[in-house]
Amino acid sequence: MLKATLKGLLARKLRLMLAGLAVVLGVTAVSAAMVTTATIGSGFDSIFETTTSDVDVSVSSAPNVGGETTFTPPVPASVVEELAGVAGIDAITGEVSADGARPVGADGKVISVQGPPRLGVAWQGETGLVELREGRGPTADDEVAINAGLAELGGYRVGGTIDVLTLEPRTTFRVVGVYGYSNGTGTMGGSTEVAFTEPVAQRLMLGETGVYSSLTLTARDTVPNETLRDEIAALLGDGYQVRTGDELAAQTAADGRAFLDIVRIVLLAFSGLSLLVGIFLILNTFSILVAQRTGELALVAALGARRRQIVGSVLVEAALVGVLASAVGIGLGVAVSTGLKAVMEAQSGAQLPVGLIVPVPDLLAAFGVGVLVTLVAALVPALRASRVPPVAAMRASAAEQRSLTRITVAGAVPAVLGVAGILGAVLDVVGDLRWAALGGGVVLGLVGLALLTPAASKVLLPVVGRLLGWSTPGRLGRLNAARNPRRTAITVATLVVTLGLVGGVGVVAESLRRDVSALVSTDLAADLVISGDGVSARAGGGSGGPPTAADGRIMPTFEASVVEEAAGLPGVAGATAQYVDTVELPGGQSPANAGDLSTLESVLGLKTVDGTLRLSGPDEIVVDTDTLGAQGWAVGDTARVATQRGGWQEYRIVGSYEPNFLLTGPVLTPEAATERFVSALPALGYVELAPDADVATVKAAVSELVADNPEVTVADQTQLATDSASRFDIAEIMLYVLLGLSVVIGILGIINTMALSILERTRELGLLRAIGMRRSHMVHMVVAESLVMSVFGGLLGLAFGGLAGAAFVSVAGLAELAVPWTSLAVFLGLAVAAGLIAALAPSTRAAKVNVLAAIAYE
């Protein structure tokens, strides 16, 4: 029997290759995700071990606001003297190193790196870590050295100049040196670095001279690091964080991993999806393979083989394919991760100081999954085939006649429950459970949809087919697609899921966008807004946009004088500035703003709820009603608020307002902001025009005022609305990329099914050629089959996703349901393209069928 199996394997090379391909794809995706994650992870670890290798103990201030990644107040130089008496200390170094040194590139735009910080540091000379590659360190106030990563990114050279934005506006420096690191890389995990002389670094990065970001201590040989740490912690008290070098390394690596986590999640989501799709593919492929062999198996059974032997032979075949294909898949996975690593290094500017890390246990698991799924995929149809009575099986296509009643009933139950859940949520009969009802409803609905697809294909395929297949070859293609509803269903499953997600996300995102831009235009009275990217969202408590102060990053700001000058321009009725930051309240973090409320009130359409909106000093605030409620405060109370620079202080609440899209949280005076916010400069400026002024002229004049600031632009209302809405773009695009990959796999799935179906129907194709179909007719027929399937899958997915999205919009209480018809049409177009691409190879094959060989084909 084994010998017969092996012979059979060789005889069906093409089919097995297609089955193997399905396994290879699935395993490749999973193992690529594993290897990439492991590689990046150990790369980060190794970077941060190097960074902190010569630190025994580090001293920094405890942050005023939030967790580890937020702004930390500087350490005064006086602490160095305080520590001078500690016996265990061998040496103390004051470090200046802070995120927010944004270099301006040759194109006048700020050089952006996705994720890693843009550090401004004080030059310490060549240490064990830093090695000059060219030039020297900075000695004068207008000189800097930069790391090689930045030099490469921005094309800077020793002897040239570099413009840098820091806490102070754009300043030009001379580049006198370029340095790299002892591990041979030009950047630490992708971060860019600008090294100033110490006083300049202190002023630009920390806001004042005579302070440090942290102190680095070396312990005497006899003193353990932990002992020294505890001694210093006791000496300095609560206001400081004292950590050993190892703790610091762990912390910094963890910070770096926050970026890695996003990559990991994306990769895992991708591999999970690919695994799922891969399983679909494998199952489908094997069920076709076994169906094709049902006749052969029946013949063997008729010749006296026992059922166990038949199933056994299919399993041996599957095991061979599974092992071989999984091995190939793992090899390809490693190759793909090499590519991914290169892409990521190019994207982030980071070079990982490690080679490819291959996590053997993980890969063994991936291998096991590949083999196991293949075996299961083969076993199910083999068992089914072995139960078919030999005579029935020897007659052709017994497998196609199976009834759909059971699967349809099985699908109707979850479908009805799912619809009930969604309806319950939309009609608001389930109260607080509506999100659970919606989520559960969507999941159940999806399960129901999957099981109902075969039955749906019976009804819908002719409809779709009529749209596409008007001629006889087209009609034949449609009939072929409708031949085996189960197979069609499982073939289009990937497309249904993918386009379902895309459609749902599209509808939700578009509705959110519409909602946000509507809010912006109702709330905002100003005609022009001066701001950097994403600031307005931050001011109103939204998230998204580029990194801002709250993420430990510096947000784009401009000088306060810009607003004053703007107010004096002809055609301008008034201008006012808004300062933006994140503060800590007893109940957690909150956005905070500052500005002249007498003007802001009208510009932002603020509604006074209680008290007054006029602040008479830096220790008075107004607070929005939501925050008041959440904190249990009332107007007239004294509230404790921690600002990034000022720390915990008491403020008197003089009034409250209704929060809106542009403003939420405590509002302080501009004086308080200058002193206590992370950036002393305003981040938003509002300009109101005189009644007869020309928007374009005034906009040009105001733009002129911020011309030297590459991060800040002047937008009119429509632009602002678009900008605010654009914060959904990044999430949406990431999702689309992810789904794009699964569309690719979906296409491969259709190709696979089509190719197998074509093989299966070789005799029919020969007959069609014999009775006079041209090659072009054959191509037409196969393309029609593929198109009908992909359009069917696409429509089903988009319809389901669209409805689920609409339900979400309704439950979330968004103002209006906006359907992005264009995007949906584009997605449907993608499905059509997928169908066309999938038909390429199979249709060529069908056209090339040799009539005589096909007629003699077994």
């Binding site: 052709a396 006649q401 006889t472 034949l476 007959l767 006079g772 041209r774 090659r775 005589l852 007629i855």
Partner: protein
């Protein structure tokens, strides 16, 4: 393409002139057709017989434009097949040649009626309703038109295939052992239908068969041996055919 009238200059529906066809190369080469010339008269029922491997199917495939020849010429009516491109051959097969194979003649997705009209449908032509009814009546399928092949018996399936071959009024219908898979009653029905189409509709038919009784339905029987035409009989009875076959067998095993 040239239009072909019923009355052609030669009066021949198809002919092979000095056709040679070999499979394989070198020492392993098999000569399937060896400088063979055959004329197929219009409106006649021709049977081809011979031992297994004598080249019957090969000859039929070459005549029908399904296969190419190594040398010599093949004509359908006044159209020379040698030299036609694939599109030309496909169109010729659709409009001017009919086929009935031993089995697997029908598309399982189409009903009997759709299978019958398929060649016309591919060419975007509508069948003449009267002619369609005549053909369907002749094969006795009027009440089976909406059935799919899986719901028809083997004999009925072969009759559908015959109707399909007849409907476009081709120059010639080729049938390769059309009764090979059938019991003698169903087989006789098919043969009766084929000979009636020759008599009543002046259809030209070429049929390969191993069965002396089947060959007796034909107007003329051609005997092949090793790719050559070795004998022919006109208006034969089963007896004569059997005798010739016996003679060929001894000749073969000599």
């Amino acid at each position: 393409m040239t239009t072909v009238t019923q009355e052609t200059i030669t009066g021949l529906a198809a002919r092979a002139v000095g056709v040679t066809k070999a499979y394989g190369a070198g020492a392993a080469a098999v000569t399937a057709l060896d400088d063979l010339s055959v004329d197929v008269q219009r409106g006649r029922f021709t049977a081809i017989m011979g031992p297994s491997g004598s080249g019957k199917s090969t000859l039929m495939h070459c005549l029908a434009g399904l296969d190419t020849v190594d040398s010599g010429e093949v004509w359908i009516g006044e159209t020379r097949l040698t030299g036609l491109n694939d599109k030309g051959l496909a169109d010729l097969r659709r409009n001017r040649v009919g086929f009935v194979f031993q089995q697997f003649n029908l598309l399982p997705t189409l009903t009997a009626e759709e299978n019958i009209t398929l060649p016309l449908a591919i060419a975007n032509r509508k069948p003449d309703p009267a002619w369609f009814d005549t053909v369907v009546d002749a094969v006795g399928l009027s009440d089976r038109l909406t059935h799919r092949p899986s719901e028809l018996s083997g004999g009925q399936q072969q009759r559908v295939a015959c109707a399909r071959a007849l409907l476009p009024k081709p120059d010639v219908i080729f049938a390769d052992e059309p009764t090979g898979n059938l019991d003698s009653r169903s087989g006789n029905e098919i043969l009766g239908f084929l000979s009636r189409s020759v008599e009543q509709f002046h259809q030209t038919i070429v049929m390969v068969t191993h069965d002396a009784n089947a060959a007796a339905y034909a107007d003329r029987v051609i005997f092949l041996l090793d790719g050559r035409m070795v004998h022919e009989l006109h208006d034969p009875d089963a007896e004569a055919v059997l005798d010739t076959m016996k003679a060929l067998d001894t000749f073969d095993s000599r």
